[in-house]
Subunit: 327 residues, 2 copies
């Protein structure tokens, strides 16, 4: 298998990408194809003494930035580390492609260069969401800021398949994010989506889910538009981090609190690990014909490593084939 | 001053309302006017031995439920504990009205029975949002699920005035909730709102704010539509609660962790207090001509007590007059 990686995508690229690749190499069988400026990549591979046996480089001259308009990026930056990789994915020169870059551009590139699975209007970024109980699935986690009811319906189907096939959750409970439990609450979009999802007979739709119940794992599949999904992911990340900071201050207060910190250290680091996005690797962009994995924009080497391992696992699991078959 | 209270609004009404009134009586000067079924109210006042000196009852025969459609509730339930109170507020028989009931109905009642301040299209629920740094203001916290750019602009003005006049924050930083820092990100709504807010010269607009930065107090005024605002408030509440549960389990693990819990107990309860919505009282519905305060739907007696104290404080501060003058 060949996994392509956008070496210039994400806040910490390209160094964090190269370090992530180095760390992943021992855990994977795939070959890695790095997309980006060759001389920079070679310099970093050398600097970090990366084993080159399974590594190839495809030299590209452009970079898609966070400010680029998605469709413009796809059209004008065909020789970028992101778009060139997607083109090669379409040509089957790669089995999967991974990027931590501009989410909108990755979606647009996936749509325009790789193509949709039949029956899907808009692909969704399907992310895991750690809860008190375990792991839920969030769809869409930020690919489509603006959605139609049809899109939310498709997200609910793909999210449910993902929970079942990849996370092995039996009969996953699907909930529509809304501002009230009752049917008929919320915006025109969620009201219409509720009606559409309710009609599906191949998913276990339990109705609306309020934001306060999400982190308790009330549902296994959290369905929402990408604007809301992005807020849910990033707000959770922020609240966990700010609360951890407050806790840290409490423990640093005096000698007694410092000693007490030792007693709970392992328990707290278990929680931290459980909630750390970088432990979970990337999020697949489901609904396109090939495997595209989005890593968190602020991915560190560990996050890249886990995203690469995740991509290989998803390939071995035939994630895209299963989605296609079940739609 | 006379503060009207919907005795039958909220998940724990009417008992939590009566207990909240009892607790508030020592801290306020105002008279309390309770709206709802007289015999039930009298029974609860008697049961809890509430001092009746400053209490009046207005008997009503209907209740607005969580399932009621807002405008229908206003039209068909004129003799409900919520709508009758709003009618009396308009007639100046009350100086303020407080309810923990159906937010949509309270907004519709505020619009149709009390009326808007000139120049305001949609009133906003303006809530405090505790952060790492202190307190921010969230507008809209859930009154308007569906918004136009104009509404977000007005929320930014009212939120800023609230932060300045009531929370005494000098030159409060105003941020628009979005899925990216850069101008031009997000939905059509937020893009248009950005343009509108940018033109204002009486607020300190710093641009977009990402959800992950909200709980660190990056901005003093968090501007968003009511759907997003409701998600932000309730998700934060849920994440804090689920994280606290996880921490609790860590501390309960063995005798050493239990002892260590003692050392950090006061620090942790400071955090808990800081993040506890019931400490902050209610959220005013700004943009209507009189003071309407919304208490959290799941308010307990302490939350009602603080909402009542808050309402009196807002009256003394001439909150509505200041908003009206500055618009």
């Amino acid at each position: 298998m060949r996994i392509g990686i956008d070496a210039f995508g994400g806040d910490n690229a390209p160094e964090a990408v190269i370090l992530g690749v180095k760390e992943a190499l021992n855990s994977i069988e795939s070959n890695i194809v790095l997309y980006g400026d060759e001389s920079t990549i070679v310099r970093l591979l050398t600097k970090h003494e990366v084993n080159l046996q399974k590594i190839e480089i495809v030299h590209t001259t452009q970079i898609v930035s966070g400010e680029d308009k998605p469709v413009m990026a796809v059209k004008k930056k065909k020789d970028s580390s992101m778009i060139k990789g997607l083109i090669d994915l379409r040509k089957k020169e790669l089995d999967a492609f991974l990027s931590a870059g501009n989410t909108g551009a990755l979606l647009a590139g996936g749509l325009l260069k790789v193509g949709r699975i039949k029956g899907i209007d808009r692909p969704a970024l399907v992310s895991v969401y750690p809860t008190n109980k375990g792991i839920s699935v969030l769809a869409d986690a930020g690919a489509n800021a603006e959605c139609k009811a049809r899109n939310l319906k498709e997200f609910s189907i793909m999210g449910s398949l993902y929970a079942k096939e990849i996370l092995q959750i039996e009969n996953p409970k699907v909930g529509l994010v809304n501002i009230g439990d009752e049917k008929g609450k919320g915006t025109a979009l969620v009201k219409e989506a509720y009606e559409e999802i309710e009609k599906l007979d191949n998913i276990n739709f339990i109705g609306n889910v309020e934001a306060r119940d999400i982190s308790f794992g009330q549902v296994d599949v959290i369905v929402c538009d990408g604007f809301t999904g992005n807020i849910i992911l990033k707000l959770s990340e922020g609240v966990v981090k700010s609360l951890s900071d407050m806790f840290k201050n409490v423990f640093m207060k005096n000698v007694f609190t410092k000693i007490s910190a030792l007693a709970v250290k392992s328990g707290l680091s278990d929680i931290k690990k459980k909630l750390d996005y970088s432990e979970y690797g990337g999020a697949p962009l489901l609904g396109v014909k090939e495997l595209i994995v989005k890593a968190h924009g602020s991915s560190n080497p560990k996050a890249f490593k886990n995203a690469i391992i995740y991509a290989e696992k998803a390939l071995k699991n035939d994630l895209i084939g299963k989605i296609e078959k079940n739609l």
